[in-house]
């Protein structure tokens, strides 16, 4: 009985030490592989108003994802996420129709990002945008 108790105690100690050793080895590996914080690009982006002609869209990277700045023919400016809310493809600007189409499954969005057709469940996410002194500030 005494030997059994000692054996069990040593077994528990060994299992505990092994767990600690595995955790100590796994922690740096997970930290090493984890996506880096702060690698998402600038919080604010500035464009000249002349960068985007009326009726056109400009794609860029914002906060680590694709985004689009659109200036409609009526002069409205909107900054939107360019990631389709259906399955994550990047939407394309249709200049002639003044809307967005997702080439993957035909999702349609208005120039303001509202769903106008197809399978997308939600509108395109809006990004804060302001216009002042000939500059468009996104973010």
């Amino acid at each position: 009985m005494e030997n059994d108790g000692r054996r069990k105690f040593l077994g528990v100690c060994l299992a505990g030490a092994t767990t600690v050793a595995v955790a100590a080895a796994a922690y740096p590996v997970l930290q090493y592989l984890a996506p880096r914080s702060g690698a998402q690009g600038a919080d604010k982006l500035v464009f000249a108003t002349t960068d985007i002609p009326e009726g056109e869209a400009k794609f860029f990277e914002y906060a680590g994802a694709a985004a689009v700045l659109v200036k409609t023919k009526s002069g409205n400016i909107a900054a939107l996420s360019a990631v389709c809310t259906h399955l994550g493809c990047i939407v394309q600007w249709e200049k002639d129709k003044q809307d967005f189409i997702c080439p993957c499954h035909g999702g349609l969005y208005s120039a303001e990002g509202a769903v106008t057709g197809g399978p997308p469940p939600k509108p395109l996410a809006k990004i804060p945008v302001s216009v002042a002194e000939g500059k468009i500030t996104v973010g």
Partner: protein, 367 residues
């Protein structure tokens, strides 16, 4: 525990796991006088596994492009969390692998375990030694530092001394007249795709040979009846009355692995720059050869030999002859006696050879 037993029973019913465990672990008997030197093979397998693991992790961020390689290594070392740890484990581990491999070979030499019927074990082990040196050499270039660039220039240039094919061989190895971006591509492919697979395959062959021949009995304090091997038919060397591999010798393996890790981690944490000269921290410059460029410690004897002999061909030939002699040792030294003290000629040659190798390495280091 009950759940684990049920899972084990379930597997056992299907593949006969208990039978395998009995045959390969608890019923696998080893000589009673087996010593700790026999555990170096297990240590080497752990080192190889760790090299593969850290190598895979480094490949996540390393860019095998001459323009970006040095920066990607600097990024891993200085900016990634624990990147320094992964890289140092890989760099120190490669040196440790050569060191432990040399110890493993020395113990085999001293205990005469290379002799009949284990000639193929020795030859496969020697092949592994050459392959490990090859994987270390190809990995040395990858950081694309001044040290790696010029050490590779000198190492590949040695092949120039081979008559007729030498210059073509150098160009083939480098992928051009000089070490450059094509060399990096070649060495990277060989280092990460070719040699690890070949080494794993030869380790498999080495273990297969070990299992088929049976483990040798140490020549010291033998408790078994000595039965000389007879070359007329195949026979597995049993060790009746021996100790089981599991748990007895597995514990010795574990102890040796722990001792190895203590030494290995002491170097990683307390002497991280022991293996790096200042040239290792400067990006490669093809127009500026640094002064006193030296190879890794295990190539220092080869380096010094090439410096001593006026003819490069003579220096290379002597090295090739020494390596060939070692590789074919079981076919040259055919006496059945395995105790080192009862083999005075062998012992004198072995000690002389080791001292010569150490002497040349020290000379190479300070020359």
């Amino acid at each position: 525990m009950a759940l684990l037993k049920r899972v084990y029973d379930w597997i056992d019913l299907r593949i006969g796991a208990r039978e395998i465990v009995k045959k390969e672990l608890t019923g696998y008997l080893l000589p009673r006088n087996i010593n700790e030197w026999y555990s170096l093979g297990s240590v080497l397998m752990v080192i190889f596994a760790l090299q593969v693991l850290t190598g895979m992790l480094l490949m996540v961020y390393y860019v095998p492009d001459a323009e970006k390689a040095f920066r990607s290594v600097t990024f891993v070392m200085n900016e990634l969390p624990y990147g320094w740890l992964i890289r140092l484990c890989h760099a120190v581990g490669s040196n440790m692998m050569v060191a432990v491999l040399i110890l493993h070979m020395l113990s085999t030499l001293m205990m005469g375990s290379y002799k009949s019927p284990r000639e193929l074990n020795w030859v496969s082990g020697f092949t592994l030694f050459a392959l490990v040196q090859g994987i270390s050499l190809t990995g040395y270039l990858l950081p694309w530092s001044q040290l790696s660039f010029w050490a590779t220039t000198v190492a590949t240039n040695s092949a120039n001394a081979i008559p007729v094919v030498g210059p073509y061989l150098v160009e083939f190895l480098r992928g051009g007249k000089l070490v450059g971006p094509p060399t990096l591509g070649r060495f990277f492919a060989v280092h990460v795709a070719v040699l690890p697979v070949v080494i794993a395959a030869v380790i498999g062959a080495h273990l297969f040979l070990l299992k088929r021949t049976g483990i040798s009995t140490p020549p010291f304090g033998s408790l078994e009846t000595k039965k000389p091997w007879r070359p007329d038919s195949y026979s597995y060397q049993h060790h009746p009355g021996g100790i089981p591999f599991f748990p007895n010798y597995a514990l010795q393996d574990l102890t040796s692995i722990c001792v190895y890790f203590a030494i290995f981690l002491a170097v990683v944490f307390f002497l991280p720059n022991m293996l790096f000269t200042p040239d290792a921290f400067v990006p490669a410059n093809a127009f500026k050869t640094p002064a006193h460029i030296k190879p890794e410690w295990y190539f220092l004897a080869n380096y010094q030999t090439l410096k001593i002999f006026p003819s490069e061909l003579l220096g290379l030939s002597i090295q090739a002859a020494a390596m060939t002699f070692l590789a074919l040792l079981p076919f040259i030294d055919r006496s059945p006696e395995r105790h080192p003290l009862k083999r005075p000629v062998f012992l004198a040659c072995a000690i002389g050879g080791i001292l010569l190798w150490i002497g040349l390495s020290v000379w190479g280091h300070f020359s």
